[in-house]
């Protein structure tokens, strides 16, 4: 596969996952707002913090209310990580490589793009039924994953698609956890209130893991929630699961066995996966969850850079070649 095409597929996949992640967050927060009548306005600021783009928000919107945060994260075309911006970029990447995509996948991406764009360009400037809107985006994201799984050969297309999706997901889980943790658990000894239980449950629901948590872990405890979201190798949105899947997808490209490496991407991913596999929950809390997640995010950035070096930019550009315009991030 062409390096350029692989990169387009990787970014297409990341943007699709990002759009769906934002929809998940907003959907759960909207529901939560209904569950907690008279809830503090502060419940919307963390959503902006998850993105790491608080300064951008503050500059354009001021105080974080439900309407403002929703608009910023959903339909703001100026904000590069809003759902609509993600879909514009995902669809453009998809359009560039549509000859590689299963037709059903392209059509679903195209349909989702038009669905989101329509809301952005509507008179109201907001979805008329936000809950239904976010569930549609979320559902479409799941459908896209299903189409990919059912219709792609397990070759390079699938592997770059999968790697992008998994790395984006790991990143989002880590951010959500980091932000919520700050609010919910100022210190380790802190004992939760029923109000906190609702918030932890909402966090789990936004990652589609509440039912599984109840079944496998039972009562809400911060240590168990963190365990499930970071270290559980069976939960499909845990950081360990996602990074493991990304590693597996990329290893398929070279055929190299786990436990070693033949390129930078495998080396960096292998290191972080080994670390997660041999880490106890207690040591995370000892170190401090925030510090631990900070470290993880730095490693994930290394992974991204290593993938770029290994697969997308393996050769210097030809003389006279024009490198601009090919990365549609």
């Amino acid at each position: 596969m062409l390096s350029r095409v692989a990169e387009n597929i990787y970014w297409m996949s990341r943007y699709l996952e990002r759009a769906a992640s934002v929809a998940r967050l907003l959907d759960v927060n909207l529901e939560l707002a209904l569950d907690l009548p008279g809830a503090p306005g502060t419940m919307w600021a963390p959503l902006v913090d998850v993105t790491g783009d608080r300064p951008l928000f503050n500059a354009a919107y001021g105080a974080p209310t439900m309407e403002r945060v929703s608009h910023f994260l959903t339909l703001d075309m100026q904000y590069p990580n809003s759902i609509v911006s993600c879909m514009i970029k995902a669809r453009e990447n998809a359009r560039i490589v549509r000859d590689h995509l299963p037709m059903e996948l392209w059509e679903e991406i195209n349909a989702l793009y038009h669905f989101v764009l329509q809301a952005a360009q509507s008179q109201e400037g907001a979805p008329s039924n936000p809950g239904a809107f976010y569930r549609h985006v979320k559902g479409s994201g799941m459908l896209l994953g299903g189409i990919a799984q059912d219709a792609m050969m397990e070759g390079e297309l699938w592997r770059f698609f999968r790697a992008g999706r998994m790395l984006e997901r790991a990143d989002k889980t880590s951010r959500i956890l980091d932000v919520k943790y700050f609010i919910l658990l100022p210190d380790v000894e802190y004992v939760g209130t029923p109000y906190d239980d609702i918030q932890w449950a909402a966090l789990l629901r936004s990652l589609g893991g509440f039912q599984s948590y109840r079944r496998f872990y039972g009562r809400i405890s911060p240590a168990n929630v963190v365990h499930m979201l970071v270290l559980d190798g069976a939960f499909p949105r845990s950081i360990r699961y996602c990074l493991g899947e990304a590693d597996h997808s990329l290893r398929g490209l070279t055929g190299s066995a786990p436990g070693g490496y033949v390129n930078a991407a495998e080396r960096v991913l292998g290191q972080v996966n080994a670390m997660l596999a041999y880490t106890e929950i207690d040591s995370i809390f000892l170190q401090g969850l925030h510090e631990f997640i900070d470290g993880l995010q730095a490693r994930m950035n290394d992974v991204d850079a290593a993938i770029f070096e290994t697969f997308f930019a393996p050769f210097p550009s030809a003389p006279g070649g024009n490198g601009s315009g090919r990365r549609t991030e």
Binding site: I96, E107, H136, L253, G321, R326
Partner: protein
């Protein structure tokens, strides 16, 4: 469980609409062509007495049987399908251009099989002669030495590329993909308007139009014997494999596109997908160890055949335009060394010059010893003083075209022009007569198109596609383009043109007879 509320809502609404229409059909009168007028033009569907032409009879009857409003619903569902499938083209202008949905009209244009066979023979004859010509001008130039084509014209033809002199493409075939533009005049005669030998586009829309037709009017489609177009990608693949370098059994094929903002990017992408080739841009390619290679995730991989949709002058900055970033430095060296197949071969644009076009009848006589089967539009060559004078005197009734533009740009349509436009154009003409030709304004044939719930006549042309590999393949029919504005003659999609599916219909022998006598 999630639900796709938005889309489901839409479909449900549509189903209700269709159900409603069907329930009411017994009280409404069916759609009629009775109000339709041919207005003295040659109409593709009806003769002057408003009788459906034999090949189109079944279609006309079927459409008439549809309840009122049904055709419009089908048209809308076809447009929705185009939207959902993202079948688009780019219009230039603005910073990055804008993406538009491919415009499609639901009433197909029907051509009688026997008549088509005659057109096809004419196209084959033409492409063989033109191919002889291209080979000749880059070798001995016998046609110049024998005084048929003036040397001066050849030398000043923009498409004549000195770098191509002496090239030896496999089997002497240069023009692998051609998309000639045909029009019909008032009496129904087909004329060749231009040959489009460089990088003709539109074939993907023929395939898309056919798919749409099968989806949206199946009850008509399956009653008529329409020649298939679906094997075009296979034919294209066969042709491309046939030009692989010697000794390469399973060639790696790539489609070279100028990029995602090119108006035909959708087509490049579709063809790459359909023939299983890589879609590449200039920056994906590099010449290494005397071979053309693409940069892949696993290192460089050799490309054996390039179906290039980039114009000659951009192919290789070392040989042609030095500022080109769309091509590959060193590509022509690889080609000359016989280590790469290129379709089309560089240099074919010489015969796209509209002045050279006027010599096609002479080429057919010169190379094949035959008379032309499919006529040219009578053409005045402005480099000849007397024909320039004639053109200037008759600007109001002529169509004047630059010799080397495509896409309908830079054309003066005399009868539709203002005095000021004609005066400005006359100055351009006088300044550079070599680069202009003029032709009589043809009374282009029309075909019925759906306008809301009515049918109205609009002018059409036809672009058949011809592949020249080991054999010649002519796609049955081709792309029918429609000038959607009432009275307009401009069919280019970049300027508001639409399209129709084109059916070459075979029927009982008496059809052909009827058509002869009509």
């Amino acid at each position: 469980m999630f639900r796709f509320c938005g889309r489901n809502g839409m479909w449900m609404a549509k189903e209700r609409m269709i159900a409603g229409e069907l329930n009411q059909s017994h009280v409404r009168s069916p759609m009629r062509f009775s109000e339709y007028q041919v207005d003295g033009f040659f109409d593709e569907m009806f003769d002057a007495g408003m009788k459906a032409r034999p090949a189109a009879k079944m279609l006309a009857e079927r459409i008439e049987k549809l309840p009122v409003g049904e055709l419009r619903l089908r048209q809308q569902s076809a447009e929705q399908a185009l939207h959902d499938m993202g079948i688009t083209f780019y219009v230039y202008g603005g910073e990055e251009g804008s993406e538009r949905i491919w415009p499609f009209d639901i009433i197909p244009r029907v051509l009688d099989g026997a008549e088509w066979d005659r057109v096809e023979r004419g196209l084959r004859q033409r492409i063989v002669a033109i191919n002889h010509f291209v080979h000749d001008v880059y070798h001995e130039q016998k046609i110049v030495k024998d005084g048929i084509v003036p040397e001066e014209l050849l030398r000043s033809a923009k498409g004549f590329l000195p770098a191509c002199v002496g090239l030896e493409p496999p089997r002497g075939v240069w023009c692998h993909v051609t998309g000639s533009d045909l029009v019909r005049d008032a009496d129904g005669t087909f004329y060749v308007l231009e040959d489009n030998l460089r990088v003709p586009s539109g074939v993907s829309y023929v395939l898309a139009n056919r798919d749409l037709m099968k989806r949206t009017l199946p009850e008509v489609f399956n009653r008529v014997s329409v020649r298939p177009v679906a094997d075009y990608p296979t034919q294209l693949l066969n042709m491309l494999e046939s030009i692989a370098p010697e000794g390469v059994d399973a060639p790696t094929i790539a489609v070279l596109t100028p990029g995602r903002f090119n108006s035909a990017y959708y087509e490049h992408s579709l063809l790459a997908r359909e023939i299983g080739a890589e879609l590449v841009e200039g920056e994906d390619l590099v010449v290494a160890d005397g071979a053309l290679c693409m940069r892949t995730t696993r290192g460089l991989r050799r490309v054996d055949v390039l179906y290039r949709r980039v114009n000659d002058e951009f192919l290789d900055p070392q040989v042609f335009r030095p500022d080109s970033v769309l091509g590959v430095p060193g590509l022509m060296d690889v080609y000359r060394a016989g280590r790469l197949g290129l379709a089309n071969a560089p240099g074919t644009g010489v015969a796209d010059d509209k002045v050279i076009y006027a010599f096609v009848p002479d080429m057919i006589r010169y190379y094949l010893g035959e008379e032309m089967l499919l006529p040219n539009v009578p053409t005045h060559l402005c480099y000849k003083p007397e024909e320039l004078a004639y053109t200037l005197e008759n600007l109001e009734s002529l169509v004047v075209k630059p010799a080397n533009e495509s896409g309908g740009y830079g054309i003066l349509v005399g009868p539709k022009s203002t005095r000021a436009e004609r005066e400005a154009f006359a100055e351009r003409l006088k300044a550079d007569p070599r680069n202009y030709i003029s032709q009589p304004t043809l009374s282009l044939s029309r075909a019925p198109v759906l306008v809301e719930d009515r049918v109205e006549g609009r002018h059409v042309d036809l672009r058949p596609f011809i592949l020249y590999g080991e054999e010649i393949y002519v796609m049955p029919g081709g792309l029918t383009r429609v000038a959607l504005q009432p009275g307009s003659l401009v069919v280019n999609s970049s300027q508001g043109g639409g399209s129709k599916d084109t059916w070459v219909v075979d029927g009982p022998a008496e059809w052909a007879l009827e058509a002869e006598h009509a």
